[in-house]
């Protein structure tokens, strides 16, 4: 079982989808600093992807400082850094873009969108 949630969508670069899912899990707190990250082999077998792709994913996450590799243990989630707030906001980028396009097509104003969003936000805060 993988320590992060992902549903691979066909048509989009696999590596990007996985990297995004891992970052989301780390920034969202589902993966804690110091937690072990699956080996390249495990990643490839769990997701049924090319091991080369799995390797690329791990290498990219290490390069971006999301994971650290230790010789004996393997890959671990890195300690949290200062850029988190900005990184977290950036993760929503694609979703926000889609929302903006849809809202414009429906002819909504910025205020209407913000009001609608506020309703949803408050619903979650109540739980």
């Amino acid at each position: 079982m993988l320590p992060f949630m992902i549903e691979l969508k066909p048509g989009l670069a696999i590596a990007e989808q996985v990297i995004f899912a891992v970052k989301k899990a780390v920034v969202g707190g589902q993966m804690k600093p110091g937690a072990p990250f699956p080996s390249v082999r495990a990643l490839s077998q769990e997701l049924k992807i090319n091991p080369n792709t799995a390797h690329k994913i791990t290498a990219a996450l290490v390069a971006e400082g999301v994971l650290v590799t230790t010789p004996a243990v393997g890959s671990l989630v890195a300690e949290r850094g200062e850029t988190d707030r900005k990184a977290r906001a950036e993760l929503l980028g694609a979703d926000l873009e889609r929302l903006a396009v849809d809202a414009k097509k429906l002819g909504l104003t910025l205020d209407e969108v913000q009001d609608g969003f506020a309703v949803q936000w408050r619903k979650l805060s109540r739980k």
Binding site: L8, K9, P10, G11, L12, A13, I14, V40, R41, S44, Q45, L47, K48, I49, N50, P51, N52, T53, H55, V101, K104, K105
Partner: protein
Amino acid sequence: MNIIETTGLAGNYWTTEFSQGWRTEVVHDVTLAVPAGSVFALLGANGAGKTTTIKLMMNLLAPTQGEARVLGVDSRQLGPREYSKIGYISENQKLPDWMSVRQLLDYCRPFYPTWDAALEKKLLAQFDLPPARKLKQLSRGMRMKARLLSSLAYRPTLLVLDEPFSGLDPLVRDEFVRGVLEVSELGDWSVFISSHDIEEVERLCDWIGVLDIGRMQFVESTESLLGRFRRIEISLAGGAARLGALPQDWLEPEQQGERVRFIASRYERDATERACCEQFPAAAVQAFPMTLREIYVVLARANRSKAKGAAA
């Protein structure tokens, strides 16, 4: 290094038709290269020549022109040293039906110096194959798993799979993919697979080659192919407009009232959006990624209409 390399490969399919002279050339000019350590998928319509191409690579058929090199050796010179590193699986392979699964494995084992008995045991359990049952009593899926097991157990450097998923139910397909990944070694593991099952291929393959009537239409990395195709949906701002002359790489344009749709085959975010704005000012543009299956169908349709156009 390329683990497989063909140059201008041509070969025949042997038929039982006397009127055709017992053979017909189905592979005319196939040039492709599979870098070592990569997974290459050969896609193509039925009858495009995929199986014949593979048989030419494996020296089951002699080329009439051109050459194929596998593991650095001319296909005509392939011998025990190379074959012991190649796992070749095809539905057309005859199995010794009278043997049981156990007997098949006992028979194959001595041929391969790298046979891994522990892996054999693991895969036997993983594939849920009944060791004592005769091969002729196994279902289609079980037979393919038996072939796969007997080819994976010696950890081949090169796996050649000819339509491995054909007719397999989803569970068996899943087991098959897991089995193939089981022997994957970073760098020292290459796979050549001809398949129609594009979903499986999309996740595993680094390279896609499309074979069309015996010739390679193109060879491209999966990443590049998925990156340059997008389904574009446009909502026109000022009502319906007439579709004028569109760029050549915009395929299958359609229009219905205020909505326009086409397939961008050379998609680049900024460039394509700019071109859309020029054609359709003040319109809302959305770009959707396409699956490999969708891309393949678009290309196949384009080929067919090109062929019809040429014939006309």
